[in-house]
Amino acid sequence: MRARLAALVLAVALAGAAAAAEVGQSALDKRAALLEQELRCLVCQNQTIADSNASLAQDLRREIREQLAKGASDQDVKDYMVARYGDFVLYRPPLRARTVLLWAGPFLLLALGAFFAWRRVTRRRAAEAELPADERARAAKLLE
């Protein structure tokens, strides 16, 4: 009876440990997967490391997992990649003097478009308002 109880306790403890290890593993996997989707594969420039089958992408996936397992933060991994391949590896480039246009460009274009639209509308209104008196009289006659 006692042996059986001990076996049961041991089994439960082992299962718990295995489950804990699994949770640890999957949390790391999740972080690695997120990072892999943020990093560009330079061999095939329009794919992320997660999507690419290039051998370099495989190596980098291995490297990312190893670094995370060693306790590196997500930022550490990104810094590691940027130090080697430059900002270009980041799918979300950092805001710097060189990249201001990249970030602000769409808003500038939107503002430009809004400006022209506004100007057009106000001009048309002005044109409507400035109908000469004789034409206005003719229009009024036609409308009667």
Binding site: L42, L56, D59, R84, Y85, D87, R120
Partner: protein, 175 residues
């Protein structure tokens, strides 16, 4: 909007796109330029018991050429590397990247070995440290062990003539 405006915007757009067409999206500026060459100690391809480190080259201007026997552009580049090594403005060291020793040795035997020596990066880890992503790649490293230039893809005779030689000359001249 007046017609002048539309033409102006169109011309500006054509200008921007024309400049874009002349750029090479594969030439990603390397963050390693101006930084110390990443440290390594690797076995030599032809004598794996011996090791080579980038520190062995301190005091000399040298060229590091990353290649592999499985890489067709490396074969295309091979005559250019050979000419550069023969002319010897600076020692050319090979970094054999993710290759098999037997294949690499056979490749050198068949096409000729232009390298002063070849270090072996079997698992590509040193390649990662050097930001290698498209073999062949070539680095010019100065006397202090700082990377001064990086060329991605096969070197052409023009690249050697217009970039690498003048830079090596300048670096050697600069004490």
């Amino acid at each position: 909007m007046s017609r002048g405006w539309i033409v102006g915007v169109f011309v500006a757009l054509v200008g921007v796109l024309a400049v874009g067409l002349t750029l090479n999206p594969r030439e990603v500026p390397s963050p390693l330029i101006g930084k110390p060459a990443p440290a390594f100690e690797l076995p030599l391809l032809e004598a794996p018991a011996k090791r080579f480190s980038e520190k062995d080259m301190i005091g000399q201007v040298w060229v590091l050429n990353v290649w592999a026997s499985w890489c067709p552009p490396c074969l295309q580049e091979h005559p250019v590397v050979t000419a550069l090594a023969k002319d010897d403005p600076a020692p050319v060291i090979g970094l054999n990247y993710k290759d098999e020793s037997a294949n690499a040795l056979a490749w050198l035997k068949r096409h000729g070995n232009p390298y002063r020596l070849v270090a072996q990066d079997l698992d590509g880890r040193i390649g990662i440290d050097y930001g290698v992503y498209g073999v062949p790649e070539t680095y010019v490293i100065d006397r202090q062990g700082v990377i001064r230039y990086k060329h991605i893809g096969p070197m052409t005779p023009e690249v050697v003539r217009e970039r690498i030689r003048p830079l090596v000359k300048e670096l050697r001249g600069a004490g």
